[in-house]
Symmetry: C2
Subunit: 343 residues, 2 copies
Amino acid sequence: MSDRKIRNMEEFAAVSGISRPTVSKYFNDPASVRASTREKIETALKEHDYRPNIFAMNQNRKLTKNLGIVVPYLADPFFAGIARRIEDLVISAGFRPILLSSHGDAKLEVENLDSLLSIKPAGVLLAPLGRISDTAAIERFCREVPTVNFDANIDGVGEAFVGHNNAQATEMMLEYLTRTGEPPAFFEMKSPPNPNANKRRTAYVETMERMGHTPHVIQAEGEGWDIEEIGFREGARVLSQDSLPSRTVFCSNDRLAIGFLAAAYEAGIKVGLGDDCVLRVAGHDNHPFSRYTCPTLTTVSHNYSAIATKSVETVMAMIESGERAPERNSTLFDGELIMRASA
Amino acid sequence: MSDRKIRNMEEFAAVSGISRPTVSKYFNDPASVRASTREKIETALKEHDYRPNIFAMNQNRKLTKNLGIVVPYLADPFFAGIARRIEDLVISAGFRPILLSSHGDAKLEVENLDSLLSIKPAGVLLAPLGRISDTAAIERFCREVPTVNFDANIDGVGEAFVGHNNAQATEMMLEYLTRTGEPPAFFEMKSPPNPNANKRRTAYVETMERMGHTPHVIQAEGEGWDIEEIGFREGARVLSQDSLPSRTVFCSNDRLAIGFLAAAYEAGIKVGLGDDCVLRVAGHDNHPFSRYTCPTLTTVSHNYSAIATKSVETVMAMIESGERAPERNSTLFDGELIMRASA
DNA sequence: TAAATAAATTTACGCGCGTAAAATTTAAGA
DNA sequence: TCTTAAATTTTACGCGCGTAAATTTATTTA
């Protein structure tokens, strides 16, 4: 590596023996220049360690290579995990991922989109907060930037939706629980922050009725994203009142189930499949920590990689074609039953 | 709000009745212009919704308002939590946080720094991977950009270190466990990815010896960041062999403890303080999930907010003064005992 | 009220790169 | 070898803003 510092593309073009506009073209798309030219540039690149100024590039490019990723709550390992998959795919597509978390706050969600606007992203992958989201502000954003909505569906948000098939997943778990024991009660938050919760409740009620059973929905009080805490507190209340309509409890999501299991443990109630167990508990999401609950949590997994892949593919297609989809279509991926010890 | 679109600072200066260089100065620092001028600009701002082009700004500014935050593993809620605190502080200091995760991969850690370099950050807050980090590459980066090292200390990385007082925290927990029961064995990873682990082991051994007890270190095989899994697998092995030298186990960190507790549960071993319990287990970190283990985990909390605040203050001081510290100094904040049910 | 100081304006240039148009060279095919 | 299309080079301009120097205007102090 030469010690002479290259200050700009002009100088780099000089040392590589190629004109600056062609070098510019190379950095825009290496495949767009002749193989012999590409080689010359790449040889010079190894010698001189030059990199185009990202600000000057983006100032003039009609389309930046920035791609925003907004998740509702990054401290939730569930979202951290899916964000990571998406980041990897975005990088290998040659884009620069900008990961932002809304931290459960609708105002911050809009601020994040606002902040993204200022870096002219080529596209955005948005997992909205849901119920509390400022839908009008988000829609305004989506008119400016090609956006794909994932995880939590909000009508009108983004050109497409990619998510988890809550209906199929709920039905599958219900079938399993009923077949191997008894029809479960459904434990959920009274005001769930996420719209998936509503889909799951609806699917629970409808499937139960179709199966000829009476649905029992237990609603936990509490707001916000401290979901384990709500599951624990309300779980303890329900268990102490001994008011459960079924000895099987299907929690709306794993974080609620994690809290519920902790409450059961503390109450000395043995959960699981064994003869000495008095309760079965199931969750939904295959949360990273569901493998380490006591007992380990039976749950339904999202098809994370399919959702990540499809989301990225969809936004990339929009970016490349340069046009919006004629109609908003949604893709749902089926869940997978994860059988563990709790049910 | 007017419907006329403002395209650049020139046009915005025109509608606000102020010259463009003064407007530029305002955006650089609103306090640097006369109050009457500031008002005029802010009135126009409300009317016309203009925002300076961030790329054009950063291209010419000697110092951008970007501030990099690099954590080793964002899917760990521990790091997600501390990253969030730091982000908040950075934003309120008027900077734009760029959060990147190394995902446990040393190559990605260097790539992250490399990527930050291209956006000319004013400073960087780096929590390095630790043992596997490419120290030489990181040091090279630190010579270019004012960097503060936090969480895991690596000599030579950054101008300062801010972290947790592992020695004090370990000693405090040891004192508690010994006073209320018996001296614990120490459960850790054989090849811990994080240097804090080494500090904790050393503190354990030294304190035990000072107290007149024989230290017992149990080392779990296994590499990488799937720490709960390692704690579970190796915990199960240790418990099945019935080879524990003490009925109290002090885990090097909470994630290991979470796995260990799951193993104890599965082995039917009752953990806690009650008369019917045969084992006490303690952790270290006050991981967000340590409140929901079975039983709830007794642990030591970092002083998260102090660490975040001091880290941000330190890097801000470096940025403002424009000079590097004459010597690298480290600040350690004491831990706090979190007494729960497991010990 | 004049002088001293601070702030704002005018003028002018540069940052590093994208990109368009026209001229030229290169590679591929008949 | 000639034709043709593709790739490259030359030339030239613009993006939106930072910033320096000189000048003018406003505010504060004596």
